[in-house]
Symmetry: C2
Subunit: 124 residues, 2 copies
């Protein structure tokens, strides 16, 4: 099994970051990792935003987040521990990631609060 690839921070691009976070599952995972203060393993997210994600898909999602430079993954025994690389990214691109995560949280709040008032919630 090939070792995990983590890009060095100067190779990280805005486009990669945006692409990684443009997926509803990945942005949910990332927001959770950013928000929690202990490392999260992958299986935590087998159920995310009311959807069940197959673990092969989940593995791909983590790979995308990792190779975009958004998270750092480290093996601890049988599980993988993931932490965000926000600090590094903030030095290079100030307020990029925080802007995205804040917007995402706002959107989540709105969705929750609005479900009663709105006629029909959109599915995807």
């Amino acid at each position: 099994m090939r070792p995990l690839f983590h890009p060095s921070i100067e190779d990280v691009t805005v486009e990669q970051i945006l692409h990684a976070l443009s997926d509803p599952v990945r942005v949910a995972i990332f927001a959770e990792i950013v928000g929690s203060n202990c490392p999260q393993n992958c299986s935590t997210f087998l159920s995310v935003s009311e959807r069940n994600i197959p673990k092969s898909t989940l593995s791909q999602h983590f790979k995308v987040l990792r190779e975009a430079g958004l998270i750092h993954s480290e093996r601890h025994g049988v599980e993988m521990r993931n932490v965000s690389r926000c600090q590094e990214i903030n030095e290079r691109f100030p307020s990029l990631v925080s802007g995205i995560v804040n917007a995402y949280k706002l959107q989540c709040q709105r969705k929750r609060g609005g479900n009663e008032k709105r006629k029909g919630a959109k599915k995807r």
Copy 2:
């Protein structure tokens, strides 16, 4: 020819915005539209970031930007005038778009400044 669709601002999602701007051509176009103070037409971008884009592809790119809620397009005679919807988006998602555009500009500066020092620039 069907009329252009512009989503109302409350239907705009973070994911759509990130997806739209995760493409190198689209983010370049959008940054240019945001930075200029007069409306830009599509053909301005037949050549963007040292690449020639076929106009059918360009049309698709504008459609993506438009349907993500990032730009407003209006016909003026034979041409289409595009302006950003930053103000509206900022009200809903403060500092999302500005964070992205600033990061993108930083990246452009770095790329220009670093070309002499770096060994080889990556192509895509």
